[in-house]
Symmetry: C2
Subunit: 81 residues, 2 copies
């Protein structure tokens, strides 16, 4: 069982790292870029003994309590076999 | 048009950051975790004048040339409306 967790800054929060990347790619000549925001991505391999519900619950709790800062970040969890 | 780029370390490459997170969550009492690997995640907003093919081509080129290090990292690009 595998969980994928995406952590992104909440929409109103300034993202200087994303802005720096956007500025760089524009200098490099890439066109048509309206905005770039950087987030974090975690691939969590869960032991196969876990049921899908347990896996989702563990990954979601981990995303909320450890992997993200709920003040400024949102998270999304996907579970796959 | 929105592109989402996922950058992950290639399978054989050591991920000390992921290992540190795994160690921490185990100390915090989370069970059933076999492995954690950290990657990067980029949300790229593309101007709506771009066709889907152009958007995919731009995002893929950017992922290959700027957002990832092809020696140690893999990337994946998803395009959505």
């Amino acid at each position: 069982m595998k969980a994928r967790v995406f952590v992104t800054l909440k929409p109103g929060v300034l993202d200087p790292q994303g802005k720096a990347i956007q500025h760089s790619v524009e200098l490099l000549g890439y066109g048509g870029i309206a905005d770039i925001r950087q987030g974090k991505y975690f691939e969590i391999a869960l032991e196969s003994s876990l049921e899908q519900d347990e896996a989702r619950e563990t990954a979601t709790r981990m995303a909320r309590e450890v992997l993200s800062n709920p003040v400024i970040e949102d998270y999304r969890v996907e579970i796959s076999e």
